[in-house]
């Protein structure tokens, strides 16, 4: 026989169960809402991501094709130019001048001996779990370039972007933009010039490499017999400035 007390007990248990279930439901819905907020709405993002990925691939393909067409055109132009140049000495001199200024302006692929410098972010600190990256200290990269220039580097590239007079290095979110092209760590700086001088300038005691290593960056510097530095792919438009002839006093 069930007593009145027993019935009460069962009733209380049901109430407890219901309360727990409601509580669980609320927690679950809160969880899902926060996930929706951080991850994005339901199925949509995956679709959007795929869409974006294909878009990116398309754009990259287009870039490839364009680069190839430009290369072909340049080949043809060179043939024509060379054909003309062989005709007389004045034109030949002028042509070598043209090449020199093209190299200087950064509109020519270059090749030569030099050094390669790789900067990797420090390994993740297990104790503190804190990450810092060269992305937050881009002036260190600026200093590397200044050191290379002081050692008479003839051409410099950062992550295959030619360093020209207009090259900016900018932090954009968690990546870097160089010449308006986004890139990321590791940073690979290449320089053509006298390899011994360049390497010594970087590795100077207390110099830039010492400094980077003191900040725990993983730095490698090595000489190479032949380095290729690509041409600049950016056209800077002069909107504000006008050339003028200087009157020598």
């Amino acid at each position: 026989m069930k007593s009145r007390g027993d019935m009460m007990k069962k009733f209380k248990e049901y109430i407890a169960l219901t309360l727990v279930s409601i509580f669980l439901g609320i927690i679950l819905s809160i969880q899902f809402k926060t996930i929706n907020k951080t991850v994005g709405e339901g199925v949509l993002p995956t679709q959007r991501a795929q869409q974006l990925a294909t878009e990116l691939k398309k754009a990259q393909n287009e870039r490839e094709v364009l680069s190839k067409t430009i290369e072909e055109l340049e080949g043809k132009i060179k043939q024509y130019e060379m054909g003309e140049v062989d005709k007389n000495v004045y034109v030949e001199n002028l042509y070598s001048d043209t090449m020199k200024y093209r190299m200087l302006a950064g509109y020519l692929d270059l090749e030569g001996p030099g050094v390669v410098m790789e900067i990797n972010d420090p390994p993740v600190d297990i104790e503190y779990g804190e990450m810092y990256s060269i992305i937050d200290e881009l002036d260190l990269v600026l200093q590397v370039i200044s050191v290379l220039n002081a050692a008479d580097a003839e051409a410099i590239s950062i992550n295959d972007q030619r360093y020209t007079s207009f090259t900016e290095i900018e932090k954009a979110g968690n990546h870097i933009e160089i010449n308006g092209v986004s890139t990321s760590t590791p940073i690979v700086i290449k320089a053509i010039g006298r390899a011994d001088t360049l390497e010594a300038a970087l590795n100077l005691k207390g110099g830039i490499v010492t400094m980077l290593r003191a900040y725990d960056y993983l730095v490698q510097v090595y000489q190479e017999k032949s380095i290729t530095i690509p041409r600049s792919r950016k056209v800077k438009e002069f909107i504000y400035s006008i050339p003028f002839e200087e009157n020598s006093n």
Binding site: I35, G40, A150
Partner: protein
Amino acid sequence: MGDIMRRHNPKIILTIFSIIVGIFIANQIKLKLETFTPVTIKSLQATKAEITSVNNEISELNKILKAKEEELALLENIAMGDDNILDILKNDISYNKLYSGQTSLKGPGIVIKMYDNPEERSYGFDLNDDLIHDVDILNILNDLKIAGAEAISVNGERVLSTSEIKCAGPTIRINGRSTATPFVIKAIGDPKLLYASVNAPGTYGDILKIYSIGFETTVEDMLYIPGYKGVFNYRFAKPLGEDD
């Protein structure tokens, strides 16, 4: 005794089950979050940014392509005897001189005057905080370039791709020449943008002021920036594919 156990059992079982379910759900959510990370809003934005940057490159390439096509057309004309190769080469030279900083330029822009802390008393304990270093100038120049500066000079020396800015004892070396404080940086470009790039709160120029380093910016309608006067000689670098 047995009665008590039986009466307590459901509660204990319920508690244990609730805990298990809780852990289970937490694990599940964690797992799901991890598999979902590739499609977070952040990663979507990153891909989007990459797409715009690639598209920018494409438009740049298109410009180059157009220029090259024109050049080729001209050359074809020469081959047929209509035009002169000299004109083309001279054009090419003056164009590249302009882009490599050999040509003097004039236009609107800003002038920045930077000098060491003029006060007798030091700003901090370290005297180095009172002085201008090569990094300071490098950062300012980079900020100006980001703001689209078309030509920059430091104490009359044009800043080129090959310019070094390096502390050398009490002076700073630029283009192989020593200069000292005060540093006058001139930049041609959109005056508003240039001014903001070194004066807006949080910019490097703004931070320098906190260190009580002299930093004065003036906007000018007409600036004259000289071309580089030195001579270049390439001894190591050669155009790619010209090994004769």
